[in-house]
Symmetry: C2
Subunit: 313 residues, 2 copies
């Protein structure tokens, strides 16, 4: 087992505590805000109960027993093999936190950042430990959604990426290697491409916001929840993916040509989409609907686990 | 109950037979090829057994009893309220079949086409029944995946679209309205945008084919299987979708700028993607893996039905 330190105790840090403690690692959490520390301590137990209810963990008390809280960042990272940083998404905050960590951490300690948008090279360049820093970006909450995007800075040691990949895999996560620092890494680039087309369909009056959601959730999004987009098309032509690309490439090139102007994420477009969404879900219903989504994600994770075993993976 | 005729008895036509017969409608299937007619008759019973095993239908014998086979197209469509056409994806074939149907069908009969790529205006313009023709494009197999894209030609009667939407909804399908004839309708435009970005990531060396699939199936694709892309982002910022668009619009615009050159679906790129896929799945394993996918889709549909009831929709 490896000693894990978590820097940042918001929703993402809390979910990481569950991930690593569930895998048997001792976890110490630190946040600069005493209020957030209190919330983290209050939130983690109910979160474990939810996961137990959906059979995603067996023994919530044992998991809880592995999580401790530090009053000083130095105490949290003392002797840590791995630090997962989940502080707010601001470059100045990241730089300050990493400068502090650089003084405290051991010579072999690795630091992964939960950042969704800031490449590691922007906040690690001048650190003594920079070869041991990388991005380890989860999809929230990592305790339910296993994807972790590992993206090194140009100076990150390749072995460090592999060690974090092994740690994540052994903890039940699904690490992928993002080999270059590109905006949005991989997952948000894919999401962004889909969203841009979805917004164009609404802007051009092709269909409603609601119908875009139905097209995905009652259509192609079902395949994507257990095989990805490439395996999907590999199974959608008799001769596999190359056959598919030869058959449908011209259609997709035509689609791309017909949506070539860059989309502006304008206020007018946002208002239009907002108006349609608010008819389906009033603004004050968002927190409750988000809790419903998290329960559905847990139920889906439990379903996938059973289906992996019974029908095959 | 409405009398349903199915023209074209391949995999898509067979799945439509299940959809309509399961909903209680009498169904008559016709295919110009006696061989395909034989295969349809042989395939539908085992297909019903699979659906029964996953608790997606209760009484396979009753469903089977509602499906009959016609030897002449005129017999199939005689007295039909709705015709679902699923003949091969070739414009000349569609035109010939529709010219024939135009002579046979009743004055109120509606014809929906399963075409994934040919707009109704290209094969219905000169028909007497053209106001009653539209595209009703399923995601294969419609017996498991409920999305149906309804896309009228410019001369299709608006009431016809609504009548088909009602028929589909009452049969447990999820119809959406595609208001303009655009290449790829809605679902394949969304899929195409995602695939183009996925191919770019591989071409640019950002990540592997396998890691794209993991990014979706173990990440954002999970949400998309029960809420669509718009509801996903509506729940991903405290103030809802407009707040999300204001926060992340600049990132997504940057992503789009960094992938602006139109992607060529080239043979070289197809070969590269193919090589990675064939390491994961040899070509001769595709049929078996496709059967596995269909069982997973059925298990997912059953899971969604239970989760809709227990956790809410």
């Amino acid at each position: 087992m490896q000693k894990i330190a978590l820097i940042g105790g918001g929703l993402v840090g809390q979910a990481w505590a569950v991930v690593f403690a569930r895998a048997g690692h001792p976890v110490t959490l630190y946040d600069a805000s005493p209020l957030i520390m209190e919330q983290a301590e209050a939130n983690i137990a109910p979160r474990l109960n939810d996961l137990t209810r959906f059979r995603l963990i067996d023994n919530p008390d044992a998991v809880l027993g592995r999580i401790s809280y530090a009053i000083k960042p130095g105490d949290a990272v003392a002797g840590a093999d791995y630090v997962q940083e989940s502080v707010p998404e601001r470059l100045d905050v990241k730089r300050e936190v990493y400068a502090e960590l650089d003084r405290f951490i051991g010579d072999d300690t690795i630091i992964g950042s939960s950042t969704s948008g800031i490449p590691a090279s922007e906040f690690t360049e001048n650190l003594a430990c920079r070869a041991r820093c990388l991005v380890a970006h989860p999809i929230n909450p990592p305790s339910v959604t296993p994807l972790v995007e590992l993206c090194p800075a140009p100076w990150t040691d390749a072995k460090v990426v592999e060690r974090v990949a092994e740690l994540m895999t052994s903890a039940g996560q699904s690490p992928i290697r993002v080999k270059k620092e590109v905006p949005g890494f991989v997952a948000n680039r894919l999401q962004g491409a889909l969203l841009a087309m979805a917004l164009r369909l609404v802007e051009d009056g092709v269909c409603s916001v609601e119908d875009v959601d139905i097209a995905i959730k009652d259509g192609i999004g079902r395949r994507w929840s257990f095989i990805g987009p490439f395996e999907t098309i590999d199974l959608n032509a008799p001769g596999g993916i190359k056959d598919y690309m030869a058959r449908y490439g011209p259609l997709y090139e035509e689609i791309e040509r017909s949506a070539e102007d860059p989309l502006e994420w304008s206020d007018a477009l946002a208002s239009r989409v907002e108006a349609e969404r608010r008819k389906r879900l009033p603004a004050d219903g968002i927190p409750e609907r988000s809790e419903w989504r998290d329960r559905r994600l847990m139920a889906l994770a439990a379903h996938k686990r059973v289906a992996d075993e019974k029908i095959g993976k």
